[in-house]
Amino acid sequence: MKNRFKFRYALLVFMVACIASLINWTHPARAAGAAPRYFAITNARVVTGSGVVISNGTVVVAKGLIQAVGETVAIPPEAWVIDGKGLTVYPGLIDAGTDLGLPKEEPTENAAAGRGRRRAAPSGEIAKGPEDRPGTTPWRVAADEFKTDDKRIETWRNGGFTTALTMPDGGIFPGQATVVDLAGDRQGDYIVKAVATLPISFRPVGGFWGFPDSLMGSIAYIRQVFDDSNWYEQAAPIYAANSIKFERLPYDRTEQVISRELRDKETVLLPANNSVQILRALRLADEWKINAVIYGGQQGYAVADAIAAKKTPVLVNLKWPERAKDADPEADQTLRELRFRDRAPSSPAALAKSGVKFAFYSGGLSGPKDILKNARKAISAGLAPDAALRAFTADSAEILGVSDRMGSIAPGKIANLVVTDGDIFGEKTKVKHVFVDGRWFEVHEEPAAEKPSDHKTDEPPGSPKDMTDGEGVGR
């Protein structure tokens, strides 16, 4: 009886496995599921990402890591060999600012009036001051909410992106951003660094009737949160040692998370796109004594030296400013806007020249094609191609605090690789293979057209819209 049950069960599993494998076969970018864990890409040009280019080399991947790279390396007998003749191997690309895998609905908890300036909200949700902690959920961690069924994950991966920083949105302290690798069997496989960095937005969340409803109100609020967190850090041990002497300290989740964050010197992402905002962010970072990274940075060309002087890294939004698609063609364009749109792509070159560490992020672009296309614009505007590659690989990994594990092709690094049939920034280059944590994906064809409507996103904070519409950090 028991045995028969077991047999039936096994049969079922077998059938499911068969169906699953069938589905797998028909999938254009075939995940090699329970497939080999050893690979060797031979006869390929290898751009290691650490300055060395091997014109005819081999990369050996073993159990998720890069085992060896060089002109003549031993190929393990169990390895699947991919003939890399005519192909180039790069470190997997990193998109340093996305909302990949994050559901779009507002967090229900304490999101106060949420987005939308004039949105009416029940009075109970209206923040009446900093003590109501408007738009503040720093305890959320993107990793915990990461959904693997986001179709964009595959789109990004097929375009050569193996890794992304995914940021919660909504609010002033929306939550901790997570570094994810873009493949895995289950959610946990994706997460590289759950608590990677703390994004902050200056967007007023009060919606006119609630606090804060202005940029200066947001800044004042953030200042108060840092004050409170520093206070908590100081007060908690004194209270613990003298609990018969003092009134009980109230429990405040925000203070607990932020004080830990300050103690650990975790990086904080501050939005700043134009020169005024960038200089302001640098000043606030000093005042708040935080380990800041600027995101936005599109007018970096005007203030690159000031950024360099503070040694503050920048995540550059590759969604370059453009004239609004449905703009009145007769409407006057100011010289200032025109100059900004013309010069924004020169920011990376200017940052590189001044010695600022920077990485690229997609900032709401619809997919890898656009991302690489816009990176090409930065290259046309003077950025050296290898600096552009670093902004997608080594420098990005460093800013995100994962450079010990990724960003270049070297033994011991996570086997995140992209194999192309030409220069990664070439217009006609195609991605042929992608490895994520040693999982092999063969890209058979151009991915289907990426529709912007595929996953309708609000602009993430720091996108050009945010900077120009007068709402939030905008002007």
């Binding site: 202005s214 020169s275 010289l335 619809s366």
Partner: protein, 489 residues
Amino acid sequence: MKRVILLMAIAFGLFAPVALRAQDSNAPKNNIILIKNATLLTVTHGNIEHGSILIRDGKIAEVGTDVKAPDGATVIDANGQYVTPGIIDCHSHIAIEGGVNEGSVSVSSMANIADVLDSDDLSIYDDLAGGVTVANVLHGSANAIGGQTVVIKLRWGKPASQLPFEGALPGIKFALGENPKRSNFSPPPGIEPRYPATRLGVEETIREAFIEARQYKKDWEDYKQKKAAGDQNLIPPRRDEKLEPLVEVLEGKRYVHSHCYRADEILMLIRVANEFGFKIRTFQHVLEGYKIADEIAASGAGGSTFSDWWAYKMEAFDAIPYNAALMTDRGVVVSINSDDAEEARHLNQEAAKSMKYGGLSANDALKLITLNPAIQLGIDNRVGSIDVGKDADLAIFNHDPLSVYAVVQKTLIDGRVYFDRQRDIDMRPALEKEKQDLLAKEKSAAEEKKKEDKSEGKSEGKSEKKPDAKKKKPPTSQSNVGGVAGGGL
């Protein structure tokens, strides 16, 4: 804020090519400038015909009819022109990013204008073109106690960190009457209206905030005292960004600039301030100030008013254009302000109206926009008149500045020319050309993209049917998605 609609037409008419403004003013080759042959309206010691001003290191070094240019001095020949002290606007909302009001709460003193200064705001340049050199940049009037304020010099082209007037005491905005009691704002259903809703409530709100601030101050003093006495096991009070500026008010380290209209509420605020032992530095708008000029003068407060603007709401019905003159007669230090980026460009004319209405002398009229606001802001040791030792903040007009024909030719701050009308005019063709070139560049790029999209669109359709048609000439695929997704800023 207020006259926007009324004066929009004038604004566009007078200074149309707003886009064509230079980002930066040229620095002088050296730090010595001589302005010669001008009529100097010194404000403090009469007018000097055919006078000269020597500027050294940004300060006025010599003033008189017999000043010689040292070697290497840059000479500005202002023959037939008039030099006045730089105009000071005691009520401005220029150069603020992301909202003038933190209007959600009745006490928004945690908000600070200095945090959101926007050095790229074109209004800075526009106001320079009206001879303004200093502006008291105020938070709006939505709150009984509003945000922290900052006095700036209009150093166009400098970063925001270099705008604040060094050493000028910061301020805080208060507001009385209809705005803080939200007479003209009702929230949508479901949202509780903000307290207060009456003038009584405004008073109560201010009083309560200062009671809190007094306690906060005491808590910190107690803490510091105990700590100094050696008690190490102490939990410090929390820092409170809302109360700290109010403590500064109590300690006389921060000026109060209060928006107000009616006589009764002005008297109320004087009483409340007395109760808590602080002073009101200026009453702003103060349209009924003429009714209680003696009381205002006795309180030591200044009055910063409009020249001739009223009846735009109930509490502004009792205003008269004689207000500035009448308050001046009773010993109040009076200034005329703009409250508006456009109005600030002709404050000289606004001041001149007090000669017609109230019979102020030309010099007293000029004081309304120079020395008096300097006194009100506590910066009269640095600016407000043409005197040796003061900052070389100057405006050069082609006519008597109190005439409607007067147009600013040059504006200097710290001895540096920040606005030069001729240079502005000379620059326009080049800037216009730059603009046209950039427009053409964008247009051709857009057309290019359209073309690519078209060809891409076709081949895309085919390749969808034959996914494996690898040998087919690859479409210009990279730009396709851009075409679809691009534009959407």
